[in-house]
Amino acid sequence: MKAYAFDYVRAATLVEALSLLERAGEGGKLIAGGQSLVPALNLRLLAPQILIDIAQLPELRGITSDDTHIHLGAGTRHAELATSALVGQHVPLLQTAIRHVAHAAIRNRGTLGGNLAHADPASELPACMIALEATMLVVGPKGERRIDAIDFFKGLYETALEADDILVRISIARSPAETRVHFNELARRAGDYAMAGLAMVMHGTQPQGLRIRPVFFGIGDRPTLASHAARCLEQAADPMAGLAAAQQALSQDLSPQEDLQADADTRMQLARVLLKRGLTDLLAQGRG
């Protein structure tokens, strides 16, 4: 199929992009890497009147670090994240996760901001952002605002972004050396959307006082922090002793959905297996 006819304009600056977006109104759509948008256009699922290309905005480029945070421009390509030394050093979870995002050709073009703004429930990076407690810098007609990742993902392809907002930058606290991270997903073929996935961060070293953030994706309509399960693990004398209760508690945290790949029961089973394997991996890292 061929896309409906549309206009195309490449913005040179963030200000210009915002003004183009405002002018276009409901018919406007931002494009960066286009890796989700272009297939949707070709399937005629979307019919924007104008595409505003923000791939080359200087304000969206770059990976920087200060004393406390690492800052990722929303226009950063997946492939750039995968090879960045700064990302590798300070947010290793992201580099582990990136390997599971689609295929190399898609990672070469797809952008971090596009991935997050698209908010596919099976996407890897939104879950990582919640696990890492990232903050999104958003610019709209009324100026800048910051949104915590946990408040950013609202549902199926739905975020806290307004139609005239642009996601500019993502800031993540640098992980202290003792922070352990885990990423795993169950996909029938490498590069596919996962049937179930887990991004998990564990802060602290002593069994008491651990802070654990297991975030599941590909299970419900959005990435989900399994807070009941986390509490079971954190409050147990030893996290492994809390595992069975945590696995049970997942039924409070998650609302598994049925699709072509798996029914809800299978998804719940997979989530419990992922939690067990994730915790085992995190604890083994401590012994290493």
Partner: protein, 793 residues
């Protein structure tokens, strides 16, 4: 020297050598010509409005708004196109009782599957045609669809074609030997119901056709990605009211076929009819969604099987009851009964048991049409047979390899036949089994399996012996009245510089027909490969023949090429003998030079022979005429099919918590007779295995109860990809067919025949400690978890 030379004994023979395919560089440089690359003056692009319902009456089609669309050339309904294209019925007389209803190029008053074309929009570009297609207003009255093959014959279910009386397209029964006695005297009987998902062959290049009716010469030229140009020439002529001589079918580069592109598709017929109606070129290129709802689907069988076995491991009987749903029409002209027919023919085929009962029923459904796809019927027959053999082994506590060793037809038993009447010239089941056992280190893997089980790691070994139908004679289609040629023709000529031009009726879709033809001709003649140019895929410019399907290219077209090459060699040597004043029998050709036979002593170059023959015939005797073009045809006559055989094995791991399967290794030993190009054969095997693994684990056309395909995109229909594929090790046993000089049998479908069977057997072997048996494919994680009773609630 006396007696005919063996192909392998020829000077500078390319038989048995891996040489690069001549078309490879052109294709990898992006200089191939596929139909979608072609543009003709005044060409229109057609887009079809397709039924969103599985079954619906067409009440009204309003084309008014669409006709006003930008760039629109014409909007034509199915009812209107009847003027240009007559309907067809997909039956063959040797499949007794097979019935089907007339099918039109586009639905006329009723759409019978989701995706059937009801209206065509022709515009200056594909995008414009798509825009206008959305403006066509079709008023449907939805009818009750028939979707479940299990209930399709029940009295309360609607009959799709009332004039046929019921939804039963075809039924075949077979009863050989003393089946009841064998079962009653068995020490153990095992049975299971095997379920095979509906899937399709996903070609890299979608179906494409460009039809050009030229009113000036009253000729239709059709550029088409097809496996059988001469068959299509006949079909276009017949249904567009033309003489065959008025139709030329040209088949340029084709990006994969796998049997998908050997059938008559309604939308391709409509495209040709539109060209005739509009008197201008019209192109249709299926997009991926159209491919999923209109490219033929395959498999979709439910087969109950039983096996009788003695305590000593002797298998005494097989019995099956197979059911398959084929969509609303039997496909034209090869019919949709062939797969079920093959299942009946092939079950139990590798084994000595003489008692066999089978029934197969083929029913109509309101889903996409079904027909022959790579390894027609073989994966069903092989999975049922090999699944039953494993169940029998388990019932009597025997090793799966041992029970096969005790029951496979002995290598010295040939010629012989099967209870279903198949004739076997010479197979090598035991040599293949022995080779496989050694290649895979069967005993070592069993020890490793045992050791890992103690660690909670569940790995399994699966075996699958198979036979494969190749080199079909006229028994396949010709005797049933179809104008599908089982013979092939090859012309070989030497031009004025000594270069060789070959025209063959084989076609090339990526499997290497061009390469094998060049190798055979170069070997028969005695020239180097760079001197040989092969022309194929053009009904105006090649001898008449079948094309490339049913693993027939090397065995039939290859033999024709061999005979034509030999004939031209004789003709060249007659000219050379005349020039050199010696007898042709004393001469041969080696590396493009005429030499004294049996030596490398050079007498005269082919370029010089050609120069004299074409430009100085005055120097030759007055009564001598050089004939530097030779044509030969070949068809097997002694055996209806050249059966091949082999055995595959899978080694895999099942994650019993997630239901995920990891393929660790795969082996295939097969016997295709003489191997012309080892690399092409090995890659045919590997590619075939991969398609079989796709069926085993991934590929599934999933329909809902209303007959809607729910996964018609490449994101949702999972094809096998490199990351999940294991190493595939290929071994060979060589038993040439004595029916041809070349001795080649087919190799195109062996891989697909057995791959899913051995994966399913390996999964059950891995899960043996859990006492579960899974007989359904694709083997999804959900299916495995269900069988294990492990699901969260």
């Amino acid at each position: 020297m006396s007696g005919p030379l063996s192909p392998l004994d020829r000077p500078n023979s390319y038989i048995g050598r891996t040489v690069p395919r001549p078309n490879l560089e052109r294709l990898v440089e992006g200089r191939g010509t596929y139909v979608s690359d072609m543009t003709l003056p005044r060409m229109g692009h057609v887009v079809f409005v397709r039924s969103p319902y599985a079954h619906a009456r067409i009440v009204d089609i309003d084309t008014g708004a669409a006709k006003q669309g930008e760039g629109v050339i014409a909007v034509v309904t199915g009812a209107e196109l009847v003027e240009q294209c007559s309907p067809w019925v997909g039956v063959l007389s040797h499949l007794k009782g097979l019935k089907s209803a007339p099918q039109h190029a586009m639905a006329v008053d009723r759409a019978c599957w989701q995706g059937e074309a009801v209206c065509a929009v022709v515009a200056n570009s594909r995008a414009q045609a798509e825009d206008a297609a959305e403006l066509v207003q079709v008023q449907y009255q939805e009818l009750e669809p028939v979707t479940d093959m299990r209930t399709a014959l029940e009295p309360h279910i609607p009959v799709i074609h009332a004039e046929l009386g019921d939804n039963l397209a075809f039924e075949r029964s077979l009863d050989a030997g003393e089946v009841d006695k064998a079962f009653s005297e068995a020490d153990a009987v095992a049975e299971a119901e095997f379920v095979f998902g509906r899937h399709t062959g996903v070609t890299l290049e979608a179906r494409a056709v460009l039809a050009d009716w030229n009113p000036g010469e009253r000729r239709l030229t059709v550029y088409q990605g097809t496996q059988a140009p001469h068959m299509m020439q006949n079909i276009f002529a017949k249904h567009l009211a033309l003489e065959e001589a008025q139709v030329r079918v040209v088949c340029k580069d084709v990006g994969g076929s796998f049997g998908i592109k050997v059938h008559v598709y309604a939308d391709e017929m409509a495209t040709a009819a539109l060209s005739k109606r509009l008197k201008r070129p019209v192109k249709f290129v299926a997009d991926r969604i159209e491919s999923f709802v209109t490219d033929i689907h395959a498999r979709d069988h439910i087969c109950k099987g039983r096996i009788a076995v003695k305590q000593d491991g002797t298998i005494t009987a097989f019995a099956i009851d197979d059911l398959t749903g084929i969509g609303p029409y039997s496909m034209y002209p090869r019919t949709s009964a062939i797969e079920a027919n093959q299942v009946v023919n092939l079950v139990g085929g590798p084994y000595q048991a003489r008692n066999y009962r089978a029934r197969a029923r083929v029913v109509f459904q309101n889903k996409n049409v079904m027909c022959q796809y790579r390894a027609v019927g073989h994966p069903i027959a092989c999975s049922v047979t090999e699944g039953l053999v494993d169940l029998a082994a388990r019932a009597i506590g025997m090793d799966p390899l041992e029970i096969r060793s005790r029951n496979l037809i002995k290598d010295d038993a040939y010629p012989t036949d099967s209870p279903s009447g198949l004739k076997f010239e010479s197979l090598s089941h035991h040599a293949s089994l022995a080779k496989l056992k050694q290649m895979m280190d069967y005993d070592g893997l069993r020890a490793e399996q045992k050791r890992l089980r103690r660690q909670g790691i569940y790995r399994g070994i699966g075996l699958a012996s198979f036979i494969e139908v190749t080199n079909p004679s006229a028994a396949f289609y010709g005797v049933g009245g179809a104008r599908i040629s089982s013979q092939d023709g090859v012309s070989v000529r030497m031009d004025a510089t000594g270069a060789i031009i070959v025209q063959t009726s084989l076609t090339e879709q990526g499997q290497g027909s061009e390469a094998l033809t060049a190798q055979v001709v170069a070997s028969a003649l005695g020239v180097t490969l760079d001197k040989v140019r092969v022309i194929l895929g053009d009904t105006d410019n090649t001898p008449y023949g079948g094309g490339t399907w049913a693993s027939r290219g090397a065995g039939i077209g290859g033999e024709a090429a061999w005979q034509a090459g030999k004939a031209l060699r004789m003709n060249i040597l007659e000219v050379a003998g005349t020039i050199l004043q010696t007898v042709p029998d004393m001469l041969d050709i080696d590396q493009g030079v005429v030499v004294d036979k049996g030596t490398t002593r050079e007498r005269i170059g082919l370029d010089e022979v050609a120069r004299i023959a074409y430009f100085r015939p005055d120097t030759l005797p007055a009564d001598f005429q050089a004939e530097l073009l030779a044509t030969r045809h070949y068809v097997p006559r002694q055996y209806p099919f050249a059966f091949t055989n082999g055995i595959q094995a899978s080694w895999l791991e099942v994650d019993t918590e997630t239901g995920f399967i990891t393929l660790l290794n795969h082996w295939c030993v097969e016997d295709c007779g003489t191997i012309i190009n080892p690399q092409l054969v090995d890659e045919q095997i590997r590619g075939g295995v991969v398609q079989g693994l796709g069926a085993a684990l991934f590929e599934h056309c999933r329909y809902d109860e209303r007959g809607q395909l729910t996964n018609g995109t490449m994101a949702d229909y999972l094809v096998p990809m490199a990351s999940e594929m294991p190493d595939i090790e290929v071994g060979h046993v060589v038993s040439p067919t004595l029916e041809s000089e070349l001795g080649a049998k087919g190799a195109g479908e062996a891989g697909t025949a057995g791959a899913a069977a051995c994966v399913a057997n390996a999964v059950n072997d891995a899960l043996e400690p859990f006492d579960v048996t899974i007989t359904e494919i694709p083997l999804t994680p959900s299916l495995i978890l269900n069988a294990l009773g492990r699901r969260g609630g």
